[in-house]
């Protein structure tokens, strides 16, 4: 299951990672090698095997519906790169951003 450069670009776009044009070939090779290694899994018959989504069979614990103090806006924004009017500033959003 080798990987094409187009696929790598698609995945990088999904992950919001800019890849420099010069790096794409190398990244494709690295990922391709790792994915080649993964093909050995095809040898295992997992037809009737349930996936392990949680290693221990817990049931969901539930939290009582009680309000506890929130952070102050100041504390919430303390680490923010672009705080404005107690909100998180972001650059303009052009079409093509997700949903």
């Amino acid at each position: 299951m080798a990987l094409s450069e187009e696929q790598v670009k698609h995945v990088a776009r999904l992950a919001r990672l800019r890849l420099e044009t010069g790096d794409i070939a190398q990244v494709t090779r690295d990922l391709g090698r790792v994915l080649d290694y993964m093909t050995q899994l095809n040898a295992v018959d997992t037809e009737n095997v349930e996936p392990t989504m949680h290693v221990i069979g817990l049931a969901m614990p539930l939290r009582e519906d009680r309000v506890k103090p929130s952070l102050t806006a100041e504390a919430a924004l303390k680490n923010a790169p672009d705080p404005r009017d107690n909100m998180f500033g972001v650059p303009r959003i052009m079409d093509g951003g997700d949903s």
Binding site: M1, L3, Q7, V8, H10, V11, A12, L14, A15, R16, L17, R18, L19, E20, V27, D30, L31, R33, V34, L35, Y37, M38, Q40, L41, N42, V44, T46, V49, E50, P51, T52, M53, H54, V55, I56, L58, M60, P61, R63, L71, A75, A76, K78, N79, A80, P81, D82, F88, V90, P91, R92, I93, M94, G96, G97
Partner: protein
């Protein structure tokens, strides 16, 4: 005995009895760190002023309160992927440079409530992805036994800090061996409890279904002591276990009653000759004590690395999406939102992290989910079943912790796949959720060798008991000479 040579248990009992003040202890620890740290580089952040303040606070407690503190005055180092309000938390990533969490991880507050003093945050592979701590965005950490070699990883800073006797104990996190492998390379004890034993709240997630926090220490008793404090149900972590934790009995191990399994699949390719020889010596010493050592079969182990390197990157790709330059951390410039996202993440993450994000994103993407992620999670079930069957016949499974010894800087970093393959002995415990501990088994050519002990789910009590028994069978050969002391 110097204070920095003392165990956590000794320090705590002396401080409780006022035979030693926490302040005095902290002063000597600070002095030791000042002397040794420049040649090791274990810490990303130190806050010794705050540590001194905490130590004084413990000394000033009414004796009745101080006497109840299991870790009274014990200096502890914490891996930099656990949130602390008193120091930055960066996970050794540029993308979190300067980030100070507005909350403490549950393990951090539990340590503090038990009287421990947090001295600093330790270096690691960025977001815990790596086996050498070379993937830190900030600095190298050197193996105290040989400063040209890596301390292992990803909890390399914690292992090095304990081995260099800067702290008696430290916290690490283990997603595929990140506590046990550096413990092995640095000649210390590293313990990964059952998944869910220790709250993950405040641990910067790498792979949520595999991550588990645990102690690194210079002996099993100290590891158990820390484990006792940090384990237990946390209402802030929905995956934490409500089951009572049981601690090892104080009694000696009667080896004649111990059935030890050695997986036949684990002796295969890539195993360093000195490690293989040490395993044979260990087995014969155990047998000489009357233990029954039998071969067990874990047939799906050969698929563990492939499964692990699908599950872990897939979850990581999701967990690391929140680092988007909006609410905290590094932000690169960009003409619009999309550019800002792509530049921030391209510049903020290191190469290995980006490699795994791409791999994991691919494994979850439309058309590949079933072949990669789902398939890997099914293999995981088979690996769990392998262990269940094996533990029907044996009490504990013994393997080397790593197939090799601490390697030189740069030796493996050029070949990601090669680096992944060296996790062969450790990843199965994370995939199956079982507890595992690495204990030192002497030196080979001046470098530590580690043995790994695996137990069944929630089998910590027996696992720690056996590990402590082994520690007596194979006593420590001492600690590396550092910092110009005699």
């Amino acid at each position: 005995m110097r204070i920095y040579e003392m165990t956590a248990g000794d320090i705590a009992s002396k401080v409780r009895r006022k035979d030693l003040s926490a302040t005095e202890c902290m002063e000597e620890i600070a002095e030791r760190i000042g002397r040794v740290e420049p040649s090791v580089g274990a810490f990303l952040h130190l806050n010794l002023d705050e540590a001194m303040r905490q130590a004084r606070a413990i000394d000033n407690l009414p004796s009745g309160e101080r006497e109840r503190l299991p870790l009274a005055g014990v200096p502890v180092a914490v891996k930099d992927n656990m949130a602390t309000q008193s120091m930055p938390t960066t996970a050794a990533s540029k993308i979190l440079e300067g980030f100070v969490a507005p909350y403490d991880a549950t393990v951090v507050s539990r340590l503090q409530h038990a009287g421990a003093v947090i001295v600093g945050k330790t270096n690691m592979d960025e977001f815990a992805m790596g086996s050498s701590t070379e993937h830190s965005a900030y600095q190298l950490t050197r193996n105290p036994w040989d400063r040209d070699r890596v301390p292992g990883g990803s909890s390399g800073g914690s292992a090095a800090a304990v081995a260099a006797q800067m702290v008696p104990v430290a916290l690490g996190s283990d997603t595929g061996g990140s506590i046990r492998q550096p413990a092995s390379y640095c000649g210390v004890t590293g313990f990964k409890p059952t998944y869910g034993r220790v709250s993950r709240y405040g641990l910067i997630a790498f792979a949520s279904s595999l991550d588990q926090i645990g102690p690194l220490a210079r002996n099993v008793d100290d590891a158990s002591l820390i484990y006792e404090v940090i384990a237990g149900y946390d209402p802030l972590d929905a995956s934490s276990l409500r089951v009572e934790k049981a601690l090892p009995k104080a009694t000696d191990v009667s080896w004649a009653n111990v059935r030890i399994g050695v997986p036949k699949q684990y002796g295969s390719s890539g195993l360093d000759a000195s490690v293989q020889a040490r395993l044979a010596e260990v087995i014969s010493r155990l047998e000489s004590q009357g233990a029954s050592v039998v071969e067990v079969s874990l047939p799906h182990t050969e698929y563990a690395i492939a499964a692990y390197y699908l599950v872990a990157p897939a979850e990581a790709s999701s967990n690391l999406s929140r680092f988007d330059g909006v609410r905290y951390g590094y932000r690169a410039s960009g003409a619009d939102l999309l550019e800002m996202y792509e530049n921030t993440r391209a510049q903020g993450f290191g190469e290995e992290v980006k490699r795994r994000i791409l791999l994991g994103t691919h494994a979850l993407s439309a058309g590949y989910y079933d072949a990669y992620y789902l398939k890997a999670q099914k293999i995981r079930t088979l690996i769990r079943q392998d262990f269940e069957q094996a533990f029907a016949a044996v009490d504990v499974i013994l393997t080397p912790t790593t197939p090799d010894l601490a390697f030189r800087f740069g030796e493996k970093s050029q070949d990601p796949l090669q680096m992944y393959l060296s996790d062969v002995y450790t990843v199965t415990a994370n995939l199956a959720g079982i507890p595992a501990i690495s204990t030192p088994a002497g030196l080979a050519g001046g470098l530590p060798v580690g043995m790994q002990w695996l137990g069944p789910i929630m089998g910590e009590e027996s696992l720690l008991h056996i590990a402590r028994g082994f520690e007596k069978l194979w006593p420590s050969e001492g600690w590396p000479a550092l910092g110009g002391e005699a």
